[in-house]
């Protein structure tokens, strides 16, 4: 099972798509590791630098509604994975992206908008970090001297995939 939690990258916009996460021109790479430099390359957000230290240090991405819409490319979760990001927290996800995350043993966690609004208040905190406990379904946000815990739900199947480390081994054993 992967580890979850650490510094948070705040991406405060809905409908962040897979072309923004990893542009199609890099889909010709054959290994996941080769994708590493291109993370979020085409995402244009005020104050966001895909090559900056906040991106480099991040272990968790926090965003808004319909995250990961567009293409089916699993290169999107992979480019997060090879950069050390194993969890994305958002109001909602595109179906394929969400499933790809769990299929890779990573976490795509949905929270209500009100909770996300609270989490985004930490966007200016240099020490903003999150710890995530998949088993108990809780995440704790800390930063700026404050700390708050939120509950979340993931389906039993998704939890099993995270525990098993992904879908291939699970499926080969069970089907």
């Amino acid at each position: 099972m992967k580890t979850f939690g650490g510094p948070v990258l705040f991406l405060d916009r809905s409908d962040i798509n897979t072309d923004e996460i990893i542009p199609a021109k890099y889909l010709t790479e054959i290994t996941k590791e080769d994708l590493k430099p291109y993370i979020l390359e085409d995402l244009k957000l005020p104050g966001f630098d895909p090559k900056g230290p906040k991106t480099k240090n991040a272990r968790v991405v926090l965003s808004r509604a319909n995250f990961g819409c567009g293409s089916s490319r699993e290169h999107a979760p992979w480019v997060f994975e090879v950069n050390g990001i194993t969890a994305v927290i958002a109001e909602s996800f595109a179906r394929i992206f969400r499933q790809n995350m769990f299929n890779c043993g990573m976490a795509a966690i949905e929270l209500p908008k009100a909770d996300l609004d609270l989490l985004f208040t930490h966007a200016g905190d240099a020490d903003a970090a999150m710890s995530i406990d998949i088993e108990s379904g809780t995440l704790t946000m800390s930063g700026g001297g404050k700390q708050k815990t939120f509950g979340f739900e993931i389906s039993p199947f998704d939890k099993a995939l995270v525990t098993a480390g992904g879908w291939v081994d699970y499926a080969d054993q069970n089907y």
Partner: protein, 427 residues
Amino acid sequence: MGKTVAEKIFEAHLVNEPFPGTKVLKLDVVLCHEITTPIAIDDLIRRDKDRVFDPSKIKAVIDHVTPSKDSKTATQAKILRDWARRHDIKDFFDIGANGVCHALFPEKGFIRPGYTVIMGDSHTCTHGAFGAFAAGIGTTDLEVGILKGVCAFRQPKTIRFNVNGQLPKGVYAKDVILHIIGRIGVNGATDRVMEFHGSTIAAMTMESRMTLCNMAIEAGGTSGICMPDATTVEYLWPFISGEFASKEAALADYSKWTADADAAYDQVIEIDVSTLQPVVTFGYKPDQTKFVSDMPESPVDQVYLGSCTNGRIEDLRIAAGILKGRKIAPTVRGILSPATPKVQQQAMHEGLIDIFMEAGFCVTNPTCGACLGMSNGVLAEGEVCASTTNRNFMGRMGKGGMVHLMSPATAAASAIEGKIADPRKYL
């Protein structure tokens, strides 16, 4: 209580429900291309599981970058090619026989009503035009599909679209689906199947139904689905005539894959197309739509005709009808990529290729190429493309480029005028 098409297909293909709400389905077809499959193949080899569940149910094509443009794309093609040979996958399509997957595979008769279809490509929803459940998935799901012939899904809810009325002149399936996406939004159908009903759909060709279902994903939809009918049977007849005594018998059999009148829907949405106009996108999301007549003056640098949305023979006929005897604006680069070799050859026989070339279009081989900015028509920073494709994300056709989505007719009119133009004056 009656059932939706997706509910019927799920019931007929259910392997088990390992956890509440998760259904593992048996797959009828697993489709593969050279962008998302090689990493699955590589991973299977590394896991010492380089097997396929049934080579006759796996179909593969090199389509995104073909002919290969560099060493990396040549390597991707080679991995897929070698794998297809190694596992005796007979339905493998390479240079000379290859075309855009979602146009090529239906043309070969691989998709039938009631089928479950997956592919590592989001526009797999296209195949729902045949009354199939067809979903785009990632590489890991593809890998398991190849290995085991199964895929896990949450049982999707269904939105029913009752689309009625006669399409006005100059308005096509592309305008209908852009209008629908504009109305429900880019996540209006997330985790939902989009079931299309009504007189407009019943009157559509299979090509038009594929255009419609192709863009279900742009509203977040898992699959578009049209009801199989006499049009479906007619299209499939060359492939199924050995299975059924008559077309009537085929239709009777396929009708089990239509929705029950008392099926329960998440939503029912009524669409009247009788007053619809040509639609175009204006932003970087497919739900940012306007009538062409409401667009401000919008010059374009390139016009692209092709893709899994609108690269079929019907689309080429419509565009050629407008371009015949006319020239494209000198400021515009026109690119036509017929979706398959069959489409290209048919267009040649019908004299359409002559019309495009005399108008000033460059005609490429069948490929996905420019649609996702991989080859054959990448935009430069700041350039604008009028395109018959399905996705207008920022940079989609080239970093810093902008894409306006539209029908082949609107694209042809825009090529002539060098700016987004209403096709109706040319009809």
